[in-house]
Amino acid sequence: MTDDEVLAKLAATFPKADKAETQIKGILTLRAASGDDLVALARWLKDKLGFDYLDMITAVDHVAERKAFELVYCFTQLPAGQRVALKLETPDPGSVPSLTAVFPSADWQEREVFDLFGVRFQGHPDLRKILTPDFLEGHPLRKDYVHAKDRFD
């Protein structure tokens, strides 16, 4: 289905969501209005439109400009390979509903975003650090992260 068809269906079901300002080049990027919409939108993409594969979850630090993190989700429709991206802005100490109920593969990716950025996910079964060592405090990928001297320095 073409991008315009997706947008049309989106306007019909989720009036508050629309195309994102900055499009990822080559991929239709939508913007969810709020966290409450996120799970419903993801479920709608999976069940109704057939984007049943969660490709990526990541976050971008825009705290300096907009005091918010921008979460980026990407869904694929197997086997055609068509993609749709979804963006969600969440304020700095914020939390977002977890997608693990809809897509089990969101589990570790959300843990990674929590570990590296500090964004909490409500409803996640086991939200704890995954990549950074246990003694590390803070969230390294934030732009305002200052490395505190630890026992290896």
Binding site: I24, S105, W108, R128, P133
Partner: protein, 373 residues
Amino acid sequence: MPELLASPPLPSDRMFINLGPQHPSTHGVLRVGLTVEGEFIVKAEPDVGYLHRGIEKLCESRTYPQCVVLADRLDYVSAMTNELPFCLAAETLLGVEAPERAQDLRVIVCELNRIASHLLFFGTYGIDLGAFTPFLHAFREREMVLDLFEALCGGRLTYNYIRIGGVMKDLPEGWGDLCRRFLTHLGERLPEYDELLSFNPIFLDRTREVGLLDRRAAVSWGMTGPNLRASGVDYDLRKAAPYCGYGKVAFDTAVGKRGSCWDRYYCRVREMAQSARIVEQALGGLAAGPVMAKVPKVLKPPPGEAYAHVEASRGELGVYMVSDGGASPARVHVRAPSFLNLQVLGELLVGARIADVVAILGSVDIVLGECDR
């Protein structure tokens, strides 16, 4: 978290065993906490992060070409396929396209690297299950591929060959013939590997009924690459959304039926033969021309976002790059296939025997460098 370091309080008939981080078969530094009852596993918790080097953070303070150097170190077993999505993303941001000859060369080196990576998988999977000889045979062939790469760009493990805008340099004299000789040699060896390991009754016995993953589970757990295809999903990025020169070559995808360890293993063995086919065709249809497009010395792409993905040896490797107009990217995220493939272990290992852990873990074929970044 402290509770991961000590054994949790357990009822008396269960034992907590740590598989790793130092263990001959965990393919890198991985720790899997197994709660076993006798010989059967009741709970499995993979613990990653031992090899986390902060590559994504490092990229934010490096220029774009320097990021490509870091990309080599992700999946160090098949480094060329790591550089490619970085370069494709940067090229999308810049709005340049590599010349056709460079695209063909990229296809050749990526497929050769896929062969090398699958040879390593084949060898180490044999060792995990106790067959020592296939490992050395596979490394003999892998040595030839590494020799080819060394002649091409000077590196054996990390290459820095695929650059933003094209490739580093053209093929040296006689490289094509040497490559063809290697491909003929590989074609003769692959049936030997089948005879030695793939259809060995003991090997079949240990992998055929183990680690079954059906279509729905594979898709919902985010598996990609041979793991996904072994479960019956015919999704190969080189065919679904051809990039570089893949539109010009013809090849088959290896699709399994049941999603057992053997299916995942055999998909990779078949992929080696298909990769050889691709390289043969690409060598024959090599376009003439330059190998590097005109890119400015200091790369400052206009603000934007790009998400490039390739079919790497382990699955779908994606690089999401955000540029704010400066010489360094504002954010680079690597969507690592091993990271997502490893999640399925928590479900796949429950109910398996300790002896099967190694078989299942080996068949998922992870590289911790890519998983932990």
